[in-house]
Subunit: 142 residues, 2 copies
DNA sequence: GTACACTGTTTCACGTATGAAACAGACTGT
DNA sequence: ACAGTCTGTTTCATACGTGAAACAGTGTAC
């Protein structure tokens, strides 16, 4: 049960990523607004970490960044209590192969068979490398 | 771009997936509410496709489903005009290896080196299988 | 019968994310 | 000097997602 529901989506990282890319490419807020459909005012708020963008805008912006939502947002059940701003693994790590498989199945470049084969390959490889001991959980990065 | 900003996050699929899993496991709305931290009323609305859940609840629920957000939600820039309810690829397919890599890097079960090795493996395998023909040149560049 | 416990749905007051527009600066050209 | 055009930020009214609680069924026990 998701220990007491206080979890927030980490939008600070989103904001930082956007500002980084925006300034890196020399675009203004209004430029990005035109490209993404998110208004400049909202964009400004997001970059400065004020408030939390809604689902549509998160989708538009992660799309613009070409980054998976959960990578940038973190959130949900497993947000490490301690470390604030690190992008977090949203899913139980055991689910990694499932995540990859889902992505593969959604990939229109692949046939169903190929997607299956690729995820199988990934599953095997992952099993090989992941939690090498029985207590990989002690590894508290950072 | 972004077509005229009318893109919505596809929450219908989210709702369907939740109802499927919930009924499949014989849970009530209030059971799921306890597990996820999303209220039963909101849960009901989501399952019935009324309104759009906010970012926090999407995170909680995709986490509960163990499914990547963009797989279930679709959304953003690439939502296929034609087919409504199909889960869509949110990212350009070319980005698949990057997506997987991001996920791997966020995986605390893996050391940085291992994550790198795995994503390299994946990248090679994917390149092998993806767009086998030459008609994959629909790509839009911005 | 009538209680009681459960179900999913809807009502309600409240908080807040939103975009348009107003705003404050920084620069440039005239 | 002034005017014009850019920048990011903030104000404002509006829209809407939210959870608690009320509601409407349905089933079971007594």
């Amino acid at each position: 049960m998701v220990r007491d529901a206080k979890s927030f989506v980490n939008t600070n990282e989103l904001g930082r990523a956007i500002r980084r890319k925006r300034e890196g490419t020399g675009l203004s807020l209004r430029d990005v607004a035109d490209e993404t459909g998110v208004s400049a005012s909202t964009l400004s708020r997001i970059e400065n970490g004020t408030g939390k963008p809604d689902a549509d805008n998160i989708a538009r912006l992660t799309g613009w960044l070409n980054v998976p939502m959960e990578r940038i947002m973190g959130g949900g059940g497993r947000n490490a209590e301690g470390d604030e701003n690190a992008p977090v693994v949203y899913f139980p790590q055991e689910a990694m192969p499932d995540i990859v498989e889902a992505h593969l199945r959604a990939d229109r470049n692949l046939t169903a068979d190929t997607a299956k084969a690729l995820s199988e390959l990934f599953r095997v490889a992952y099993a090989q490398f992941s939690h090498p001991g029985s207590d990989a959980r002690n590894r508290k990065r950072r």
